[in-house]
């Protein structure tokens, strides 16, 4: 299929004796949200880190838009179009919201590491940063120091930074973590909009959000994939019911 933006095959990662991720294969298509769910310790975070390159796999491969990226570093993967958010907010707290987005836009610019010229005055980069802030819905806070944003605002900023790098695939690691109900609704709406033209791999604990957003679901337990399919298929899967979801969730 031509529109597979991310494809991982048979990923395995061991930490000492513990197998954190075992023989996991997963695809993300353009214009879809593929959610990965599973109980704590299922290996979801390790999987995200394997995909983004922060951890190298023991076995298996990662392809971005058909290109083998298994041996590539996180920054090489980012430049190849992979953007990720972290479970724990990871921004530059001491500079303005706009400066955060501007740095992100700069990272993908051909002038990213130029030795001369004013970093803050590149019209192309600034426009890209402004567009990303608008898309993430925090353009109004552009001049606020990032550390003064609310928790929800910082989560939005992190999404905006990822968008500013013009990614073709987004890895969102628990974007709703720590959010109140109202903030969560906004974020769900935002993530839902983001799928247009991009592929999204979403790790999330909030089941309402997952079933509201996901086009496809992969369920992990103990490092293994135990089910993959549409939300309806996964809901009906008896193994998932037993291993993870529990009757009361549904």
């Amino acid at each position: 299929m031509a529109d597979i933006v991310l494809s991982a095959r048979h990923l395995t990662k061991r930490f000492g004796g513990l197998v954190a991720v075992s023989d996991v294969s997963i695809d993300v298509h353009r214009d879809e949200i593929h959610a990965v769910i599973g109980p704590n310790g299922a290996g979801k975070s390790t999987l995200v880190n394997l995909l983004s390159g922060e951890i190298t796999p023991g076995e298996g491969s990662v392809h971005l838009a058909g290109k083998d990226m298994t041996a590539r570093s996180p920054d090489q993967r980012a430049r190849a179009g992979l953007g990720r958010s972290y479970q724990k907010t990871t921004i530059f707290p001491d500079v303005s919201v706009f400066a955060n987005a501007r740095l992100a836009a700069q990272a993908r610019s051909p002038k990213a590491l130029r030795f001369f010229g004013d970093a803050g005055r590149d019209p192309v980069i600034n426009a890209q940063a402004a567009a990303a802030l608008s898309e993430a819905g925090i353009a109004a806070h552009a001049d606020t120091p990032a550390r003064h944003l609310s928790h929800g605002g910082q989560r939005q900023l992190e999404i905006a930074m990822v968008l500013a790098t013009t990614p073709s695939i987004l890895l969102l690691d628990e974007p709703l973590a720590g959010m109140g109900p109202a903030e969560a609704q906004d974020m769900i709406a935002l993530v839902s909009r983001l799928r247009n033209g991009r592929g999204i791999l979403l790790v999330e604990h909030d089941m309402d959000a997952v079933f509201a957003l996901a086009d496809r679901l992969t369920v992990m337990a103990d490092g293994h994939v135990i089910a993959t399919g549409t939300p309806a298929q996964v809901r009906a899967d008896p193994a998932v019911r037993v291993a993870y979801l529990g009757e009361d969730c549904l």
């Binding site: 001369f116 970093a119 803050g120």
Partner: protein, 337 residues
């Protein structure tokens, strides 16, 4: 809360004028002292590119300073001066290669490891010149003739002339300040500071953190090399102590004393520390004791350096609000606060 920009500018312009006119009034001794201080100010300012803007605490910067001097010494013929056109590029090339090797290894490590690895690598250069006969071992080596700056048989500058040398040092310092300021404001500088403030985020945005840091490390070493080259020419002598880790530690004191958040902070730090040493040395036998106490006091009472003190002095006057979101050059000023 910084001093008003116009005031800062006029102060700096006045300082520059004073520096340009100094040779007309100052005795030779002071000219030599200021030339020496300006060269060390280059080294301190370049170190701040690594420490302040790059967030890497390096303890081998003095080695690059000293290494350039050694290259000049070894490249100087015994009966005449070396040509600056060949010996300076050679010195800087050697320094760049050394810094690239040390940096490539040391930057594999982080935090305390990086400090220790740079300290150890710096000492490797010390012991290389101390223990081998390559450059006369622990006795050091003399440079009997200053490098020649000659174009088509015409001597452009006589480095042996104290006034000429003073202006060469001043020009080098201005050049270094311009280079570092440009770097800090550039996209490269923004990326360097981004890597300092949040390495993980910088990398996941697509910044090649290792390459950025290594580049800054090598560029800073080359700037230190320029100073080291002229410093060796000024004193006509290099010894292993020139590249020992005490030099590197003293440079760090200059950086912190002046303030790491600006390009000029370490320049002033260098002048203040050297001036202080000069005064203490001539008045107190055990001046190093005082210096040690001052360093300890600096850590606890003035962690932002003299720059912070200057800011406090102006804290009642409202500076015009900086252009909001005007990029990461502000990141450096707001970090470590």
């Amino acid at each position: 809360m910084t001093p008003p920009r116009a005031l800062t500018r006029s102060l700096l312009a006045a300082l520059l004028m004073a520096a340009l006119l100094l040779p007309m009034i100052a005795p030779t001794y002071y000219l030599q002292f200021f030339a020496k201080a300006m060269l060390l100010a280059i080294v301190a300012a370049s170190l701040n590119l690594v420490v302040g803007f790059g967030g890497m605490v390096s303890l081998c910067h003095g080695a690059f300073f000293g290494l350039a001097g050694y290259v000049l010494a070894l490249a100087s013929p015994s009966s005449s001066g070396a040509s600056l056109w060949t010996s300076l590029p050679l010195a800087l090339l050697v320094v760049a290669i050394a810094a690239a090797l040390v940096g490539a290894l040391a930057l594999r490590t982080r935090g305390i490891y990086f400090i220790m690895a740079t300290l150890a690598f710096g000492e490797m250069f010390f012991y290389f010149f101390h223990d081998t006969r390559v450059a006369n071992g622990s006795d050091g080596i003399y440079i009997y003739f200053e490098p020649e700056i000659v174009i088509a048989g015409w001597r452009l500058v006589d480095l042996g002339n104290k006034t000429s040398f003073y202006y060469v040092a001043l020009a080098s310092l201005l050049l270094a300040i311009i280079v570092i300021s440009t770097l800090v404001r550039s996209p490269f500088g923004a990326a360097l500071m981004a890597a300092r403030d949040n390495e993980q985020r910088a990398r996941s945005l697509g910044f090649p953190v290792f390459r950025i840091r290594l580049t800054a490390f090598v560029l800073a070493a080359v700037l230190a090399g320029i100073a080291g080259y002229f410093s060796a020419s000024q004193f006509g002598f290099v010894a292993p102590q020139t590249l020992g880790w005490h030099v590197s530690a003293t440079l760090l004191i200059m950086v912190v004393l002046g303030g790491m958040k600006s390009v000029l902070g370490p320049v002033f730090g260098a002048f203040v520390l050297l001036g202080l040493e000069e005064i203490l040395k001539s008045n107190i036998e055990h001046w190093k004791l005082i210096e040690g106490v001052i360093v300890i006091a600096l850590v606890f009472m003035l962690p932002g350096g003299l720059q912070h003190l200057a800011q406090l002095a102006f804290s009642d006057r409202r500076a015009p609000a900086g252009q909001p979101g005007s990029g990461a050059s502000r990141a450096g000023r707001q970090h470590h606060g």
